[in-house]
C-alpha cells in the first residue's frame, strides 16, 4: 500500500476455493466446504507479509493457491500482474521457479534416502536450470550458513534447526523472487527458532526476496513482517501493520489471537506476576 508505484508480485482477486466433502446421502449432492471465500491478498515485491490464523482458518489453502499447487474454484490468481492459470507454459515455468516454499517440518520434507547434495540437486534438475549446478549449491549453502560437509550427509544426521536451514537452502536454489514459509519455526526449539527467524530476515534483505510467512503465532510474525493479514473462517478479516493490529484489533478473531499470546511474567489472565 505504501509503495504505489510498484505492482504486487503475487495477488489473489476474489479467490474462492471449495472442496467437495464425502456424500452424505445417495441421491443428494455432496456437501461443499468453502475453504476460501473471496480472498483478496497481495504481496509487493520485496515485502514481508504475514498470514495469521487458527487452524481451519484457510491459511494452508491460501498457501497452496499462492504456490500454484491448486487452482482456485473461482477468482483470479496473478503473478507479476498476469493470470497464472491462463498463461502459456513459459510463464508458468517462470512462476514455478520464482515462487518457492519452506514447509513446517523439515524432517518430513526430505527424502530420507537421499544425501543433502542429491536433495539440493532436485530443484535444478526438475526446473531444468542450466549452468554450474555445484557452484550454485555451494553458494546457497553459504547463504544459509552451512558448510560443504553438509552435502554428503543424510537428513537424519542433522538437528531440526540445521535441517530447516537446508530446507531454506533448497527453496533458494532456483533463485526465487518469493519465499513462502509455512510455520517455519513451530517444529523447532525456542533457542533455534530465533536463529531461523534471523536467517529469514537476513535473506529477505540480502536477496531482496518477497517473504510470505504463515503462522499461528502473532509474536513470531511481528519480528519478521511489516504487514499482517489475519484470517478466519476462510476470509481475510483484517490487515495492517503488526503494531496496529495488536493495539487496535477490530475483529473478534484478531482480538482472540492477541489475547491468546502468553508472555513470560504474565499470568493466564494477563496479570503481571513479578
Amino acid at each position: 500500500m505504501t509503495e504505489n508505484n510498484q505492482q504486487p508480485i503475487l495477488q489473489t482477486i476474489g479467490v474462492c476455493q471449495e472442496y467437495k466433502l464425502p456424500r452424505t446421502s445417495l441421491l443428494g449432492k455432496p456437501p461443499v466446504l468453502d475453504a476460501l471465500k473471496e480472498v483478496d491478498f497481495y504481496a509487493m515485491e520485496g515485502e514481508s507479509v504475514g498470514i495469521v490464523g487458527e487452524s481451519g482458518a484457510g491459511k494452508s489453502t491460501l498457501t497452496r493457491i499462492l504456490v500454484g499447487m491448486e487452482k482456485p474454484t473461482s477468482g483470479i490468481f496473478k503473478f507479476k500482474n498476469q493470470d497464472v492459470w491462463n498463461s502459456d507454459d513459459d510463464f508458468k515455468h517462470e512462476f514455478r521457479r520464482s515462487v518457492q516454499m519452506v514447509l513446517q517440518n523439515p524432517r518430513s520434507s526430505f527424502d530420507p534416502r537421499m544425501t543433502i547434495g542429491q536433495s539440493l540437486l532436485q530443484p535444478l534438475k526438475g526446473l531444468k536450470i542450466g549452468g554450474n549446478h555445484q557452484a550454485r549449491i555451494d553458494e546457497v549453502l553459504g547463504q544459509v550458513g552451512l558448510g560443504q560437509d553438509a552435502l554428503k550427509k543424510y537428513p537424519y544426521e542433522f538437528s531440526g534447526g540445521q535441517l530447516q536451514r537446508v530446507a531454506i537452502a533448497r527453496a533458494l536454489i532456483p533463485n526465487p523472487k518469493v519465499l513462502i514459509a509455512d510455520e517455519p519455526v513451530s517444529a523447532l526449539d525456542v533457542s533455534i527458532q530465533a536463529q531461523v527467524l534471523n536467517l529469514l530476515n537476513d535473506l529477505v534483505k540480502d536477496l531482496n526476496l518477497t517473504l510470505i510467512l504463515i503462522t499461528h503465532d502473532l509474536s513470531v510474525v511481528s519480528y519478521v513482517t511489516s504487514r499482517v493479514a489475519i484470517m478466519g473462517h476462510g476470509r481475510i478479516v483484517e490487515t495492517g501493520t503488526p503494531k496496529f493490529l495488536f493495539q487496535n484489533p477490530q475483529s473478534e478473531i484478531t482480538r482472540n489471537l492477541v489475547d491468546s499470546v502468553l508472555t513470560v511474567g504474565k499470568g493466564i489472565e494477563g496479570e503481571s506476576l513479578f
Binding site: 527458532q193 530465533a194 534471523n198 513482517t225 491468546s260 511474567g265 504474565k266
Partner: protein, 324 residues
C-alpha cells in the same frame, strides 16, 4: 501419609551407553506446581515416563522416585497399575494418540472410575458427566456418546484432563499439554488445568518447552539441559533474574508482543549452535560450547550450588541489584 506428592532422587535414565537423564533430583509437595523446561533432547519427557513407570523395555533407571511411600522404579507392574490413574495420572501431549480410538469417550472415563473407585455403572456415569461439566464441555451427554475422532483437539485434551482428574490423584504430570492445540484454545485448557489443580490440591508437574506457559502456571521451575537440571528456583527468581547463561539465552530468544514497535526485519537474540546429541555429550558442562561465559573450568562438570536459586554453572550471572 507424607506431605510430598513426588520425590525424585538422583534419577538416571539410560539406554545402553546413551544416558538421557543424568541424575536429577526434585521434590513436589502436595498442591505445589512444578515446571520442567527444556528443549528437545533435554530429557524432560523421559523423566516423566520414568516417574509414571512407563519407560519402554530396554531403558534402565537408577536413583529413586518416591510417590505414596513407594519407589516407583522398583515397584511391580501390578502395584503400578493400581497407582496410575488413581494417585498419579498423566496428561499427554497429543490427545489424538493418547485416547483409545475405538472406544466411546464416556466409556473411557467410566472405566477408570469403575476400576479404581469401585463405582457401579450408574455412579460412574454420573461422576463422568460431572467431570465433563467441570471441563466446560457443552452437551456432556452427547460427548460421552462420541468417539475421539468426532471431537476437536481442544475437546479431546479436556477429556484427557478430566480422565487425569477423575480419581482425585495426588499428582498430575502434564507433558506438553497444550503444544498440539491451537493458540486460542491453549488458554482455556490451561485455565481448566489451573482451576482443577487448585481445587483438588494435587501436585502438578508441567513439562514443556514453552516458557510463558510455565511462568503462568507454576510456582517453581527446573530448567533442564543435556539431561541435567541446570537451574532451579521459584518462577519469579529464575525468570526475572536468570543465573544460568542458558536460562538467560532462552528467555532472550522468546519472541514477545511487549516490544511491539517492531516493523518486521527485527533480529531476535538467539543462542548459537545446537544441543549436543546424546552420544556426543561432553563430560563437562553440556552448554559450554554454546555459552558466552564459558571458561576452561567448564570442562569439569558443575553441580547445583546451595543458594536459594540453585544453578549448576562455574560462571553464573550475578543477580541484579534490584533482585530479591
Amino acid at each position: 501419609m507424607d506431605t510430598f506428592a513426588l520425590k525424585v532422587e538422583n534419577l538416571v535414565v539410560s539406554l545402553g551407553d546413551l544416558i538421557a537423564v543424568r541424575g536429577i533430583s526434585f521434590e513436589i509437595k502436595k498442591g505445589e506446581r512444578w515446571g520442567l523446561v527444556g528443549e528437545s533432547g533435554a530429557g524432560k519427557s523421559l523423566t516423566a515416563l520414568a516417574i509414571m513407570g512407563l519407560l519402554q523395555d530396554g531403558w534402565k533407571t537408577s536413583g529413586a522416585v518416591w510417590h505414596d511411600g513407594i519407589n516407583i522404579l522398583t515397584a511391580s507392574d501390578k502395584k503400578l497399575s493400581t497407582m496410575r490413574g488413581r494417585t498419579m495420572s498423566m496428561v499427554f501431549q497429543d490427545p489424538t494418540t493418547a485416547l483409545n480410538p475405538v472406544a466411546k469417550v464416556g466409556n473411557q472415563i467410566t472405566w477408570i472410575l469403575r476400576h479404581h473407585m469401585r463405582l457401579n455403572e450408574k455412579e460412574a456415569v454420573e461422576q463422568a458427566l460431572a467431570l465433563l461439566n467441570k471441563m466446560n464441555l457443552p452437551r456432556p451427554e452427547s460427548i460421552m456418546d462420541s468417539y475421539p475422532h468426532q471431537l476437536s483437539g481442544g475437546q479431546r485434551q479436556r477429556i484427557m484432563i478430566a480422565m487425569g482428574l477423575a480419581c482425585y490423584p495426588e499428582l498430575i504430570i502434564a507433558d506438553e499439554p497444550t503444544t498440539a492445540l491451537d493458540v486460542t484454545v491453549q488458554k482455556q485448557v490451561l485455565r481448566l488445568l489451573d482451576e482443577a489443580v487448585k481445587e483438588r490440591n494435587c501436585g502438578l508437574l508441567l513439562i514443556t518447552h514453552d516458557l510463558p506457559v510455565i511462568a503462568a502456571m507454576c510456582e517453581n521451575v527446573a530448567v533442564m539441559y543435556g539431561g541435567r537440571i541446570v537451574e532451579t528456583g521459584s518462577i519469579s527468581q529464575v525468570f526475572k533474574n536468570p543465573r544460568h547463561p542458558y536460562t538467560k539465552g532462552l528467555l532472550a530468544s522468546q519472541p514477545t508482543l511487549d516490544n511491539i514497535d517492531l516493523e518486521g526485519g527485527t533480529r531476535l537474540t538467539s543462542i548459537r549452535g545446537s544441543v549436543p546429541p546424546l552420544y556426543a555429550m561432553p563430560d563437562g558442562c553440556a552448554f559450554a560450547e554454546r555459552c558466552d561465559y564459558a571458561t576452561d573450568k567448564c570442562k569439569e562438570l558443575p553441580e547445583l550450588d546451595n543458594q536459594i536459586q540453585r544453578v549448576a554453572c562455574w560462571n553464573p550471572i550475578a543477580l541484579s541489584q534490584k533482585g530479591v
